[in-house]
Every structure is written in structure tokens, then in C-alpha cells.
């Protein structure tokens, strides 16, 4: 190699990944500084779909802020619905009937499965495999149909209300869930044979995108990213909310810290979701789905409140400061993917471009949720 080409090799160049790029799954822009095929630096540039959700929370009544929760992480909107209604219930001391709590758990877990199925399809699509996406969507469609029959919508749900749920569920929904679980269980081995054990997938994921537990701590990463780095942390277990303590389920944890570990965490999580739903359906009590007394105008006592839930992508938390008025003084939304994305810059240094994209897929980004 002549000295001239050697110096050319050292020349770095910048490319933009996004804001319109299929691999970023939304309007995210990543400024990549490249040395040939290798990533020298990757700087995520945010704000392309910033909609001021936090400010909106400070400018409208507590009830009017409800629909916003379906528009953060649109793939697991019910977890966000749940986080917000539980926070307000905590603030205004509203008791939720038992049946409503069970319905919330069943629908939220169904939503989590649908979110993971979509991630699964999109992730394999990022790696160049198109077929699994179609299979995953086939299964996900069943969940959307079931959820549509109770919530009335397919994606941006606004189903929970302060003190319960907007309507009861029928027995057909519950049996439908059980039928779906049976179907998905029978399809899981197919997914593993087709994708998990595929030699190409294994070689592209194993050992790629190492994220140490220390790095997770540094950036506040949660959810499957954290659990793929060997830390057993799940809000449903560590700070239980709703009726989760009544169910017996495991938190999948993998110690490999690579993309494969994060992949496996999500695949195993689907099994655990199914376990939770089955137990909840077996135990669901009869009764009302709305609290008897919910004040028309909610004015929580002044104070600083915080509530966290486990969304499909990690810990979603809301901090609300109330001045005793009918709207919040401060509304802070802690988005899990924002923290998960933050570690991308450090973790992707020195990676091949194709590996960096696989790594980005494995942290499962939903851009409207990062930008809020």
C-alpha cells in the first residue's frame, strides 16, 4: 500500500443516517463519522418530531391529557395509559375496582406481546430478512383485533380512565386471549427454528454491540437492554404496581451483554406475558370496572408525585408536580428509549456500519417516544 492510500484510509467522512431512513424506524437522525466501513463517532440528533407533550401536560386538565399517552410510544400505548392513570389515581386517592385492575393487566400484557412481535419483525427486517416480519404481523393482527374489540382502537389506545377502564370486557375477549395464547405458543418453536437458530442471525448478533451493565447504569438504560446485560430489574417486580404481585412470572435475564442477549430477553418476555395473561384470566373477579366515586374535576393535593411502570421498552415514569389545581404545574415524562438511545454513541464506536444498524435495532427505538 502506498503512503498516499494509507493516508486516504485515515480520512474520516461524515454521513447522515436519517432523518428519513428505514433503519431508524422514524425520524431520527444519526450523524455518523466514518472511517471506511467503521463508525468513529455516532451522534444522535433529536427533535424532528418533538411535539411538546410535557408542556401540553402543563396546559390542560388532568383528564384532557389522557389521549396524549397513546401518542408517545404508539407500539405499547397501554403501558403509558396505565402509567398515567395510576399516577393520577395515586395523587387523587382514587380506589380502582379489582376487575378493572385485572383488565388493565391483561390488555397491557397483550399490548406488550404485540409490541415485541412488531419489534421482532422489524429487527429481522433490519438484518435483511423479510419473511419473519410477515409471520409476526400475522400473529400481531390477532392481538390488534382482540384489543380493538375492547378498546375501539388498534394502535393509539385511550382505554383506561381515572378509576378504572372505559368499558367492561366480554367473555369472548377473554376466551379469545386464551385461544391466541395457544396459537402463539404453538408458533414460538417455528419462530425459533426460523430465526433464532438461523446461522446468519446468530453470527450477526452474537458478540455484537456489547453493552455492559456499567454502561447501562451510566446512561440509565432500562428494559430489555438492561436485562440483556445481566441485571435483573423489572419495575413489575422491583416496584410492583397494579395487581402484578399476584402473578407468578419470571424476569428473563441474559448475561452476554450482546445483541443476541437483548433479542432473547424479548423473546422470553413474550412467554412470560402469556403466563401472566393466563393467570389473570383464571383469577379475574366479577364486579364493576369503574370506581364509584371519581370526582368530575380532579384537583390533586399540592405535592410532587412520581410513578413508574414497565413499558415494553423499559421504565416509563412520570413525575408530576401539582399545585392543587386542575392541571399540573410540571409534567416530566421519563422515556425509556431516550436513555437507551443515549448509549448508542459510546457503544457503537469502532463498529462496522452494518453491525451498528443491527445494534440499533436491538435497542428497539420508537422515535415519537424519544422526542415526546
Amino acid at each position: 500500500m502506498s503512503s498516499q492510500t494509507a493516508s486516504q484510509n485515515k480520512e474520516h467522512f461524515e454521513i447522515n443516517l436519517g432523518p428519513q431512513h428505514p433503519a431508524t424506524h422514524g425520524v431520527l437522525r444519526v450523524k455518523l463519522l466514518m472511517d471506511g466501513e467503521y463508525v468513529v463517532d455516532a451522534e444522535p440528533v433529536l427533535g424532528y418530531i418533538h411535539r411538546m407533550h410535557e408542556l401540553m401536560g402543563e396546559n390542560r386538565t388532568w383528564a384532557k391529557y389522557l389521549p396524549n399517552m397513546g401518542r408517545l410510544d404508539y407500539l405499547s400505548a397501554l403501558s403509558y395509559n396505565l402509567g398515567y392513570v395510576e399516577l393520577v389515581e395515586k395523587m387523587a386517592a382514587i380506589e380502582v375496582p379489582e376487575r378493572a385492575e385485572y383488565i388493565r393487566v391483561i390488555t397491557t400484557e397483550m399490548n406488550r406481546i404485540s409490541s415485541h412481535l412488531l419489534w421482532f419483525g422489524a429487527f429481522v427486517l433490519d438484518l435483511g430478512g423479510f419473511t419473519p416480519l410477515l409471520y409476526a404481523f400475522d400473529d400481531r393482527e390477532h392481538i390488534l383485533d382482540l384489543l380493538e374489540s375492547v378498546t375501539g382502537s388498534r394502535l393509539t389506545y385511550c382505554y383506561f380512565r381515572f378509576g378504572g377502564c372505559s368499558n367492561d370486557v366480554e367473555d369472548e375477549f377473554l376466551t379469545g386471549c386464551l385461544t391466541f395464547i395457544k396459537r402463539l405458543r404453538s408458533r414460538m418453536p417455528m419462530y425459533h427454528n426460523l430465526v433464532t437458530k438461523n446461522v446468519i442471525l446468530m453470527q450477526r448478533l452474537e458478540g455484537v454491540g456489547p453493552v455492559s451493565a456499567e454502561m447501562c447504569r451510566k446512561y440509565g438504560a432500562t428494559g430489555p437492554v438492561l436485562r440483556g446485560s445481566g441485571i435483573n430489574y423489572d419495575v413489575r417486580k422491583n416496584e410492583p404496581y397494579s395487581v402484578y404481585p399476584e402473578f407468578d412470572f419470571d424476569v428473563p435475564v441474559y448475561n452476554e451483554c450482546d445483541s443476541m442477549a437483548r433479542y432473547m430477553v424479548r423473546m422470553d418476555e413474550m412467554d412470560q406475558c402469556m403466563r401472566i395473561i393466563e393467570q389473570a384470566i383464571a383469577k379475574i373477579p366479577e364486579g364493576p370496572v369503574m370506581a364509584a366515586k371519581v370526582p368530575k374535576m380532579i384537583k390533586p393535593a399540592a405535592g410532587d408525585y412520581y410513578h413508574a411502570v414497565e413499558a415494553a421498552r423499559g421504565t416509563f415514569a412520570i413525575r408530576a408536580v401539582s399545585e392543587g389545581k386542575n392541571q399540573a404545574y410540571r409534567m416530566k415524562l421519563r422515556s425509556p428509549t431516550f436513555s437507551n438511545l443515549s448509549l448508542f454513541q459510546e457503544a457503537s464506536k469502532g463498529m462496522l456500519l452494518a453491525d451498528a444498524l443491527a445494534f440499533m435495532g436491538s435497542i428497539d427505538l420508537v422515535i415519537p417516544e424519544i422526542d415526546r
Partner: protein, 146 residues
């Protein structure tokens, strides 16, 4: 060296297993709906844009123009106009406008309506290039609805 060949063998096997799965799927019936030729019946809870409920007895709406739906709407897309008319105790609805471009289909208007005068429609085939097509005069729609 032995590892090299077992790798090739197990890799080939994994690909063959995958191919057999896709091949099986290939001969299955399509799972998708052939949309323009077939269409779906919406579930009873489906949330389309809101509409006034037709009262079976009186043949008209049940709205008392209280304006609670308007007040509770997060997106401010409802405008209700009622008028005092002689001989009628409650205000009479003269206009009910919905700006569907802003509606988030949250259902709070329906929750707020005591007399149960509004409901979600089951319309989902909505498409237009003009914004004005989604400004609905619900009273007029109700009258047109036979």
C-alpha cells in the same frame, strides 16, 4: 479444522430448517383480507368519528345542548349551539359541528354526555385530499341518515 466443518454443517442445517418452514407457509391460504373486494365488519366498540344517536321513539336526537362534550374535549373539536325556544323547557340544539381533523378518538365526549346523545360511528373508509371534508355538521348528517 473439525470445528470448521461442523460449523458449515450446522449452519446449512439451520438454513434448511428455515427453508422448510417458509415452504410450508407458501402453500397455506392467504391470511390477509383482499381489501377493495372484501371489507371488514367493524366491532361494536370501533371508534369512528362521533355522531348523534337517533332516538327510536322520537326519530330525532337526544341532545340537550348542555355543552359538556365540548367542554371536556381535549382537542376542542366540538362546537355545540343551542337556542332557547318558546314552549320547550331545555335548549334546542341548532347546530353540532365536529372538526374531525383534530379528534383523537379518546371517547371523553361520549363519557361526559349524560343523556347518551352521541356515539362512535363505524365509518372507516375516510379519505380525502381536502381538509374541509372532515368538518362535519352532525345535525345535518343525522337528518340525512334514514
Amino acid at each position: 479444522m473439525a470445528g470448521y466443518f461442523t460449523n458449515i454443517l450446522s449452519g446449512t442445517k439451520s438454513l434448511l430448517v428455515g427453508l422448510s418452514i417458509t415452504q410450508r407457509e407458501f402453500f397455506k391460504k392467504p391470511v390477509t383480507l383482499q381489501y377493495p373486494w372484501e371489507s371488514l365488519e367493524m366491532t361494536p366498540r370501533y371508534r369512528g368519528h362521533i355522531q348523534l344517536v337517533k332516538d327510536g321513539e322520537t326519530g330525532t336526537h337526544k341532545c340537550i345542548s348542555c355543552g359538556l362534550c365540548d367542554k371536556g374535549c381535549p382537542s376542542g373539536c366540538i362546537t355545540v349551539k343551542g337556542e332557547k325556544q318558546e314552549g320547550v323547557k331545555v335548549k334546542v340544539l341548532v347546530r353540532y359541528d365536529l372538526d374531525f381533523t383534530k379528534c383523537s378518538l379518546c371517547g371523553q365526549c361520549i363519557d361526559n354526555c349524560k343523556p347518551g346523545a352521541i356515539e362512535f360511528s363505524k365509518e372507516y373508509n375516510l379519505a380525502s385530499t381536502r381538509k374541509e371534508d372532515f368538518y362535519y355538521d352532525l345535525l345535518k348528517r343525522l337528518k340525512e341518515q334514514k
